[in-house]
């Protein structure tokens, strides 16, 4: 179960790591992330840190930049091999 898994933080995750989205930001930001293809269960790839403390992630063939607040609002879990 997701609740038993160890959560991952983007800032501590090496580049190239694949993660699974567990929980989302509430409100309009969560809706915006859904528009961009992110929802619980989506697999993402950590691609790097950006200027201003944000993160570059890959979602399918799309590339999304999340600022620090958007990134901390995501609950992420490791993808088991």
């Amino acid at each position: 179960m997701a609740g038993d898994e160890e959560k991952c933080e983007l800032r501590r995750t090496p580049k190239g790591t694949r993660l699974r989205v567990g929980g989302m930001l509430p409100g309009r930001s969560g809706l915006r992330l859904r528009h961009l293809g992110l929802r619980p269960g989506t697999l993402i790839t950590v691609l790097g840190r950006t200027s201003g403390g944000g993160f570059l992630i890959g979602v399918g063939s799309g590339r999304i930049v999340l600022d620090r607040r958007a990134a901390t609002g995501l609950t992420l879990f490791p993808v088991s091999a």
């Binding site: 809706l31 528009h35 293809g37 691609l47 200027s51 201003g52 944000g54 063939s61």
Partner: protein
């Protein structure tokens, strides 16, 4: 079915409102709809920004709408289908206004609309709200959803929502080549089978697939309206979003089964890692912008000389001969044509190569996708002044022309953010101001003109930050801060056709200004110069020092004496520059040419007069006076076209407030610069 005849016009310009009054709830973004969908250049005021609506469709023609996620290629497709020249750019939010043109489909003329991008029908900003309202309240006869294959998951949500109603929809699938470079092959037929509407693969950047799309549109229009994809939509917005996402996931799996198992990083991911990185990203951005200005000034110099020689030689001789041939030699007509129009407008035209080169370089950067990376890099800067990172995109547009930049603030969801951004845009140094900087930089900083001009752009950013910090502490104090989420557009190899098209579109705007409002301004300045107020000479034969223009400029000149540039030629040029910043240049050329005809014939001759004026009014602190003048020119007021755009977006009161702030700030900063410079000597 909606037709061109019954469609109401988009909301018009001229509304005077108070955006601040609409955003009482600090954390709930509020949308004001001023002018959304109106044309940026509407109204009587000419602008140096040209955009390309096409011929109208006849009344009763079926309306077709191009919709899709931001940056999916709608405007590029619109241009490819209609032969128009709407502004396009490889970043989200390029289109904030509806474009319309007639488009012949299988012998039937339709009205094609190009709508602002939207990921879905939950509007976050005024441009998205406009698209939502049109699609929900007044659905077109057929909606063409432009879906970027490289961003399939991000592009299909809107389709999921549209398919919840009975309406004719088809998909134009773009960016297949970019998706393939990312290791994702998208199967158009499998996608069509899954989403239940026709899918046409095309490449609008290279003009491929237009015929197939037109045929598909004709077929779809001839068929009955299809059923909705579901009978009932969940009332809870998150439940509805989940259902749509599941539908989108199924479509993605069917069309691109390899997308989720693709290699984790690509070459462009490694490039992006550096271009958006905390330290390297800003350094690369500054280096790129410096290279743009260095290249612009270096390459343009010999071309400017060529144009100047052509205007002062064959054109002036031909005009004088022509006027002489009709018996008007030495008359006021010859003076108006040679000393007025050719000196003034001609001087401006010598800068056309410079402006064209800068437009081309910026078009290359925009088309490649780099500018969206620049927005990521500047996110922290924007947040420091209380604005979201995407506020940098209107600022980038402002470096070309302030008019569309003011309209581009509509991509911001919050009304207060839009108000602040619309008042900050005039501090972005537009291409018209560039012409004056280049002339002054070549005069006073020869050998370092590119760096001097680049420094003015840094000064422009510094002033935006300075004023932005004040706004943050006042205007934006109660405004909430939503997390920033930005979809990076894929890199594209810029095509020569598109780069030339964008450059020509913008150069055309520059030339239209030179041929329109600048001709009127030049004629007015010439008239004021021809009227004597002392010395006893007749109309048209007055010594420039004795003219009405000089008299009026001398009345205002004392205001600028403490700033180091109280010469009447310079002060007169600044006043004329209220109309358009290019007019500073034309006014200088005219007023000096009246006393010395060679001053209107080439930038070199004009430079000598300007140098003498600054030396005499600055008391020896010439460099300080020149820097003070350049900073004053940067800040004091935008052109009238920008003021009209501001009035439409934020209302007349805020526009008047903005002008007052700009004037006070410009005068104060110029005073400080000159006085400190003079003391440091």
């Amino acid at each position: 079915m909606s037709t061109g005849a019954d469609r109401p016009a988009a909301s018009g310009p001229g509304e005077d409102h108070d955006p601040s009054a609409t955003c009482a709830a600090a954390h709930e973004p509020v949308v004001v709809g001023a002018g959304v969908g109106a044309r940026a250049t509407s109204g009587a005021v000419p602008s140096c920004h040209a955009d390309g609506d096409g011929p109208p469709a006849p009344p009763g023609a079926p309306v077709l709408a191009l919709v899709g996620a931001p940056n999916s290629g709608k405007s590029t497709l619109f241009n490819a289908l209609t032969g128009r020249h709407r502004t396009v750019g490889n970043w989200p939010g390029t289109t904030v206004e509806v474009g319309r043109s007639a488009w012949a489909v299988d012998g039937q003329v339709c009205e094609l609309l190009d709508l602002p991008g939207a990921y879905g029908l939950d509007a976050h900003s005024p441009d998205e709200e406009f698209t939502r309202d049109l699609l929900r309240d007044d659905p077109p006869a057929l909606t063409v959803v432009v879906v970027g294959a490289a961003q399939l998951a991000q592009s299909l949500y809107l389709l999921a929502e549209l398919r919840e109603r009975r309406q004719r929809v088809l998909v134009a699938l773009t960016m297949l080549d970019i998706a393939a470079r990312r290791g994702v092959e998208v199967d158009a037929q499998a996608l069509a089978a899954q989403v239940g509407v026709p899918v046409i693969a095309l490449d609008p950047r290279r003009g491929q697939g237009r015929v197939e799309l037109a045929q598909a549109v004709a077929r779809t229009l001839a068929q009955p309206v299809p059923q909705a994809r579901c009978e009932q939509v969940p009332e809870d917005s998150f439940e509805a979003a989940e259902e749509r996402m599941a539908w989108v996931d199924a479509a993605c799996r069917a069309a691109a089964p390899a997308a989720d198992t693709q290699p984790t990083t690509t070459v462009t991911d490694r490039v992006d890692r550096w271009l958006t990185a905390p330290l390297v990203g800003p350094v690369v951005f500054l280096a790129v912008m410096w290279a743009v200005f260095q290249l612009t000034t270096t390459v343009a110099a010999p071309l400017q000389d060529l144009v100047g020689a052509f205007l002062s030689g064959p054109v002036t001789s031909a005009a004088a001969a022509g006027v002489g041939a009709v018996g008007l030699a030495d008359s006021w007509v010859e003076m108006l044509v040679v000393d007025g129009l050719i000196s003034g407008v001609g001087m401006l035209l010598t800068f056309a190569p410079l402006v064209a080169i800068m437009f081309a370089l910026l078009a290359l950067l925009e088309d490649s996708g780099y500018m969206a990376r620049a927005a990521v890099v500047t996110d922290r800067l924007m947040r420091a002044i209380g604005l979201p990172g995407q506020a940098f995109l209107p600022m980038i547009v402002g470096f070309g022309c302030n008019v569309p930049a003011v309209s581009a603030t509509r991509i911001l969801p919050d009304a207060r953010h839009r108000l602040a951004a619309a008042m900050l845009v005039p501090f972005t140094s537009c291409s018209a101001r560039l012409t004056v900087y280049v002339l002054l930089a070549a005069t006073f900083f020869p050998g370092h003109a590119g760096t001097a001009v680049f420094a003015m752009y840094l000064a422009s950013i510094a002033i935006i930050v300075l004023v932005g910090l004040v706004f943050r502490a006042t205007l934006l104090r109660a405004v909430g801060d939503e997390p920033a989420i930005l979809l990076l557009p894929p890199y594209q190899r810029p095509t020569l056709r598109l780069t030339l098209s964008i450059t020509w579109l913008r150069l055309k705007g520059f030339l239209a200004t030179a041929g329109g409002i600048i001709v009127v301004t030049v004629t007015l300045v010439w008239l004021l110069q021809a009227i004597p107020i002392q010395g006893g000479a007749g109309f048209g034969h007055v010594d420039p020092e004795d003219s009405l223009f000089a008299g009026l400029a001398r009345v205002i000149a004392p205001v600028f004496t403490p700033l180091g540039f109280g010469d009447w030629h310079t002060v007169g040029a600044l006043v004329v520059g209220f109309v358009a910043k290019e007019a500073v240049l034309t006014s200088w050329a005219q007023t000096y040419a009246a006393g010395d005809p060679t001053a209107g014939q080439s930038p070199d001759q004009l430079q000598a007069h300007i140098a003498t004026a600054f030396e005499s009014t600055s008391g020896g602190a010439t460099t300080a006076a020149v820097i003070a003048f350049m900073v004053f020119l940067l800040i004091y007021t935008p052109c009238v076209a920008t003021l009209a755009a501001q009035a439409r977006e934020i209302g007349r009161r805020w526009t008047a407030f903005s002008v007052a702030v700009n004037l006070v700030l410009a005068w104060s900063l110029a005073l400080v610069i000159f006085q400190i410079g003079r003391v440091l000597g």
